[in-house]
C-alpha cells in the first residue's frame, strides 16, 4: 500500500511538472517569442484553457501526500516554510497575470502583467528545480522528524545546508532550461506565424542546452547523494524510467530538426516523466533524505499514515483520477488546432 501511494504521489507530481511545465515554459519564453500584444495574446490563448487545470495537479499531489504520508507533508512543507510561501506568491502572481491581463486594453496594464507572468513563471521553474535538488541532497532532519532550512548558508551542499547551494542552484537552472524547452515545443506545436517560428528556434537552442547540462546534473547528483545510482541499478522501474527519458530526448532532438512537433512535444513529456520517474524510483523508499545519516530519513514506511485509511483513499482515487484525465482530454479536444489570439475582450 505504501509503495503504491508513493508511486501515485510521484506520478501526480510528475504529471504536474509535465502539464504545468508547458504553462511555465510559455511564461518564461513569452518575452522572447511574443513581441506585439497580439502575439502575447496568442501565447496566452495557447495555455489559457489549460493552466488552471494543470495547476490543480500540484494541489492533488499535495492532497495525496497529505492523506498517505502526513509526516512527510508536515515535515517537508513546514521545513521549507519560507520557500513554500514564496512559491505560493509566485503562483498567485502567475495566475492573476493570466486572468487579469485581458480585461483592460491599456498598454501599461498589459505590459505590467506580461512582466509578472514572465517573472513568476521563471521563479517557479527555478523553485521547483531547487526543491528537487533539496530532496536529492537531503535536509537536516532531527530525531523527531522535523527540520528548518535557511534560504542559503555557505552554498556548499554540506551541513549546515541551506535551500540554495551550488547543487540546488544547478538543479534550479536545469529545471528552468528544461521547462523553457518544454514550453517552447508546446508553443511551436500550438501556434502559427512568428510566434511559432521563434518558439521553434528557441526550442532548438534550449534542447541542445538541456542535452549538454543533463549529464552534468546527473554527475552532480551522484556527488551529493552517492546512494542514488547504486540504488537505481537494482530497480527495473528506475532503469525503465531512465530509458524513457533517454528515448524522449532522442525523439525531441530528431523531431526538432526533421519535423513533427507533436511528436517532439510527446518526446519532451516522456523526458520529464522519465527523469522524475527514475529519480523517484531510485530514491524509494526514502521520501525526505536526512543529511545527518540514513537512520534519520523519513521513508514511505515511517512517514505513512494508517494503511486502512490508504485503502479507503485508493477507492475514491481510482474514480477521481480517471475523471481528471477525461476532463483534460475533453479540453484538449475542444481546443485542438492552432491557438489564435481572440478578439479583444473575448479571450485571454
Amino acid at each position: 500500500m505504501f509503495e503504491l501511494w508513493f508511486a501515485i504521489a510521484a506520478l501526480m507530481l510528475a504529471l504536474y511538472v509535465v502539464l504545468d511545465g508547458f504553462d511555465l515554459g510559455a511564461g518564461i519564453l513569452s518575452p522572447f517569442v511574443a513581441r506585439s500584444d497580439t502575439e502575447r495574446r496568442q501565447v496566452l490563448a495557447a495555455i489559457g484553457p489549460f493552466w488552471d487545470g494543470n495547476e490543480v495537479w500540484l494541489l492533488a499531489a499535495g492532497g495525496a501526500l497529505f492523506v498517505a504520508f502526513p509526516r512527510v507533508l508536515a515535515s517537508g512543507i513546514s521545513g521549507f516554510y519560507f520557500a513554500i510561501i514564496l512559491l505560493l506568491w509566485c503562483l498567485l502572481g502567475r495566475g492573476i497575470a493570466i486572468e487579469f491581463r485581458s480585461h483592460v486594453s491599456d498598454p501599461l496594464w498589459r505590459s505590467a502583467w506580461d512582466f509578472v507572468f514572465a517573472a513568476a513563471s521563471t521563479l517557479l521553474a527555478v523553485f521547483f528545480g531547487a526543491a528537487f535538488g533539496n530532496l536529492m541532497r537531503g535536509v537536516p532532519l532531527d530525531g523527531e522528524g522535523w527540520f528548518a532550512l535557511a534560504l542559503f548558508t555557505d552554498f556548499s551542499a554540506r551541513d549546515p545546508v541551506g535551500i540554495l547551494d551550488w547543487y540546488t542552484i544547478l538543479t534550479g537552472v536545469f529545471a528552468l532550461l528544461a521547462l523553457a524547452a518544454h514550453g517552447a515545443l508546446f508553443l511551436a506545436w500550438k501556434t502559427e506565424g512568428p510566434v511559432h517560428d521563434r518558439s521553434l528556434r528557441m526550442a532548438r537552442r534550449l534542447w541542445i542546452a538541456v542535452a549538454v547540462l543533463w549529464p552534468v546534473v546527473t554527475a552532480a547528483s551522484q556527488a551529493v547523494n552517492p546512494a542514488l545510482f547504486p540504488g537505481m541499478g537494482r530497480r527495473w522501474l528506475a532503469i525503465l524510467a531512465a530509458l524513457v527519458a533517454i528515448g524522449g530526448i532522442v525523439v525531441v532532438l530528431v523531431r526538432l530538426w526533421r519535423g513533427g512537433l507533436l511528436g517532439a512535444f510527446v518526446g519532451s513529456c516522456a523526458f520529464l516523466l522519465g527523469i522524475i520517474g527514475a529519480s523517484a524510483a531510485s530514491y524509494f523508499p526514502v521520501m525526505l533524505r536526512a543529511t545527518g545519516g540514513d537512520a534519520l530519513s523519513i521513508t514511505a514506511y515511517t512517514g505513512g499514515g494508517d494503511e486502512a485509511g490508504l485503502r479507503v483513499a485508493l477507492r475514491w482515487f481510482v474514480i477521481g483520477a480517471p475523471l481528471a484525465l477525461i476532463y483534460l482530454a475533453v479540453i484538449f479536444r475542444i481546443h485542438r488546432g492552432k491557438a489564435v489570439a481572440a478578439a479583444d475582450g473575448e479571450g485571454y
Binding site: 506585439s36 500584444d37 497580439t38 489559457g48 484553457p49 488552471d52 487545470g53 495547476e55 490543480v56 494541489l59 492533488a60 499535495g62 492532497g63 497529505f66 492523506v67 498517505a68 502526513p70 509526516r71 507533508l73 508536515a74 515535515s75 512543507i77 513546514s78 516554510y81 519560507f82 510561501i85 505560493l88 506568491w89 503562483l91 498567485l92 495566475g95 492573476i96 486572468e99 487579469f100 480585461h103 483592460v104 486594453s105 498598454p107 498589459r110 522535523w146 528548518a148 499514515g305 494508517d306 486502512a308 485509511g309 479507503v312 483513499a313 475514491w316 477521481g320 483520477a321 475523471l323 481528471a324 476532463y327 483534460l328 479540453i331 475542444i334 478578439a343 479583444d344 473575448e346 485571454y348
Partner: protein, 464 residues
C-alpha cells in the same frame, strides 16, 4: 513528538499568535470570493437554463454579464485558495501530522473531484460561448456549479471533523486514523453546516445581483437586464434568507448539543439555569462574568436550543476555564452580528418581493437605494458566521481532542511567520484594489450582446 501531542504541554509562544493571525486573515479574505462564486454559480445556471428557450436572448445577455463577474471572482478565489491548502503544511504541521490521515481524505478529494472539474471548464464558461453550442455552454455552467458546490462540501466536511470529530480512532503513535469513512464523510455536523453555508452563499450572490439591478434601475441604464437582476436577486434572496434561518436553527441546536460551552459564549451566558433568555444586545464583561446592558427575550434561548421553554441551558460557569473559547467577546459579537444581519436581510428581501408582487419594485426608489447599498451585509454576515464557528471551536483544533496550541509547526519561528503575514497583507491589499477596479469596470460597462466586449480595441501590433 507523540508525547507532546498526547500531553498538550506545548508552550504558547508568539509564533502561535502569528500562525493564527495569518490563517485568520488569509481565510477571511479568501472566503469573500467563493461565497459569491458559489451563490452566483446557481444563479448563472438558472439564467442559462431560461436562456435555452428560443428567443430568450436577454437571459443569455444577463448570464454573460454575471459570468464575467464570476470569472474575475473565481480567479481571485483560486489564487487565494491555494495558500489555504498549503498552510496546513507550512503553519500547522503538527496538526497535519496528527490528523492528516483523516482530514487529508476530504482535502485530497476536493482536489480530485471538485478542482479539476471547475478548473477544466472555467475558461469554456468564461470565454467559450462562441466556440460551444448553446447547450454546451449551459453544460459548462452546470460543471462550474457542481464543481464549486462539491468543493464547498469537502471543505465543510473537513471543518466539521474539526468541530465534531467522528469516524476516527487513535493510532498506536497517538495520531488519528480513519476508522469509518462513511461516518466521517456524512458527519451530521457537516450536513447541517453545509446546508447553512450554501444557502448563505446564495444570499450573497442574490443580494449582489439585486444590488447591480437596483443600480442600473436607478441610473435608468440596461433596464431589460436590470429587471432580470432585480427580480431574480430578490426572489432567490428571499428564499435563501429564509432557508438560512431554518438551517441556522438546525446548526445552533447541534452546537447546543455538542459544544455547549461555545453556545454559552455565543450567547454571553455566564450562569446556568432553566428558562434561559435570549440576549438580543449587550456587551459581555468577561472579567465580571456578566453581560452588561442586556436586552433579553425571556425563555427564548431554552426554546431555540432545546425546543422547550423550561429547558436548562448551561452557562460558562458550568465548564472549566481551560475549555472556554479564548475570545468570548469576539465570538459573542460575531454570532450576534450574524443573527442580526440575517434578520435584516430577510426583511429587505421580503419587502422587495412584496413590492415586486404589487408591481412597484422598479418604481420604489427608497427600496432600490436599500437594495443597492445592502450588498456588503451578506458578506459581513457570512464572515462573522464563519468566525462564530471557528472561534466557538477554540481552544481546540480538533474539538475535545487536540488543542490549537498543539497544532502549529514546531520549526517555524515568529519572525518568519510575521514576515509572511505582512507579505500576505500587502499582496492581498494590492489584489483587492485591482479586483475592485476590474469589477467597477464591468459594472460600468454593463451587460450586452455577444461580441460587445468590455475593452475598446487595442492598436494592432502595438509594442508593449
Amino acid at each position: 513528538m507523540s508525547d507532546k501531542i498526547a500531553g498538550g504541554d506545548v508552550t504558547v509562544d508568539d509564533a502561535l499568535v502569528f500562525h493564527r493571525l495569518q490563517f485568520a486573515f488569509t481565510i477571511v479574505y479568501h472566503y469573500l470570493f467563493p461565497q459569491l462564486t458559489m451563490g452566483l454559480a446557481l444563479l448563472i445556471v438558472i439564467l442559462k437554463a431560461l436562456g435555452l428557450r428560443p428567443g430568450a436572448e436577454r437571459w443569455n445577455d444577463a448570464a454573460r454579464f454575471w459570468i464575467r463577474i464570476f470569472g474575475i471572482n473565481f480567479a481571485v478565489g483560486v489564487v487565494t485558495g491555494i495558500p489555504m491548502e498549503f498552510q496546513f503544511g507550512t503553519n500547522w504541521a503538527q496538526f497535519s501530522r496528527y490528523a492528516g490521515n483523516v482530514v487529508g481524505q476530504t482535502l485530497a478529494m476536493e482536489g480530485l473531484f471538485a478542482f479539476f472539474l471547475e478548473s477544466s471548464f472555467l475558461s469554456l464558461l468564461v470565454w467559450g460561448e462562441r466556440r460551444l453550442p448553446k447547450f454546451g455552454h449551459f453544460l459548462a455552467a452546470i460543471a462550474l456549479f457542481l464543481g464549486s458546490w462539491l468543493s464547498g462540501y469537502f471543505i465543510i466536511a473537513t471543518n466539521a471533523f474539526m468541530q465534531h470529530p467522528v469516524g476516527h480512532a487513535v493510532a498506536a503513535d497517538g495520531t488519528l486514523r480513519l476508522a469509518d469513512f462513511g461516518a466521517f464523510v456524512l458527519n451530521p455536523w457537516a450536513i447541517a453546516q453545509y446546508a447553512h453555508n450554501m444557502v448563505a452563499a446564495v444570499v450573497t450572490g442574490s443580494f449582489v445581483m439585486a444590488a447591480v439591478g437596483a443600480y442600473y434601475t436607478l441610473r435608468r441604464r440596461h433596464e431589460p437586464s436590470a429587471r432580470i437582476f432585480l427580480r431574480l436577486g430578490v426572489g432567490v434572496g428571499l428564499a435563501a434568507s429564509v432557508l438560512v434561518a431554518v438551517t441556522g436553527d438546525v446548526q445552533a441546536k447541534m452546537v447546543a448539543r455538542y459544544q455547549p460551552v461555545a453556545l454559552a459564549a455565543m450567547e454571553g451566558r455566564f450562569e446556568s439555569g432553566a428558562h434561559a433568555g435570549l440576549a438580543v444586545i449587550g456587551q459581555p464583561n468577561v472579567a465580571a462574568h456578566r453581560l452588561d446592558n442586556p436586552i433579553v427575550i425571556p425563555w427564548a434561548l431554552s426554546f431555540l436550543a432545546f425546543g422547550a421553554f423550561h429547558a436548562e441551558v448551561k452557562g460558562l460557569d458550568a465548564f472549566p476555564r481551560d475549555i472556554w473559547p479564548d475570545n468570548i467577546e469576539l465570538l459573542y459579537y460575531s454570532f450576534h452580528i450574524m443573527a442580526g444581519l440575517g434578520t435584516i436581510l430577510t426583511a429587505i428581501a421580503l419587502a422587495a418581493v412584496l413590492l415586486w408582487w404589487a408591481g412597484r419594485l422598479e418604481r420604489t426608489r427608497p427600496m432600490l437605494w436599500i437594495l443597492m447599498l445592502a450588498f456588503p451585509l451578506p458578506y459581513i454576515a457570512n464572515t462573522v458566521g464563519w468566525m462564530t464557528a471557528e472561534l466557538g471551536r477554540q481552544p481546540w483544533l480538533v474539538y475535545g481532542l487536540f488543542r490549537t496550541a498543539q497544532g502549529a509547526s514546531p520549526t517555524v519561528h515568529s519572525g518568519t511567520v510575521l514576515f509572511t503575514l505582512m507579505g500576505f497583507c500587502g499582496l492581498y491589499l494590492a489584489l483587492g484594489i485591482l479586483f475592485l477596479f476590474l469589477i467597477g469596470r464591468e459594472i460600468a460597462h454593463g451587460p450586452g450582446p455577444l461580441g460587445h466586449a468590455a475593452a475598446p480595441p487595442v492598436t494592432e501590433g502595438a509594442h508593449v
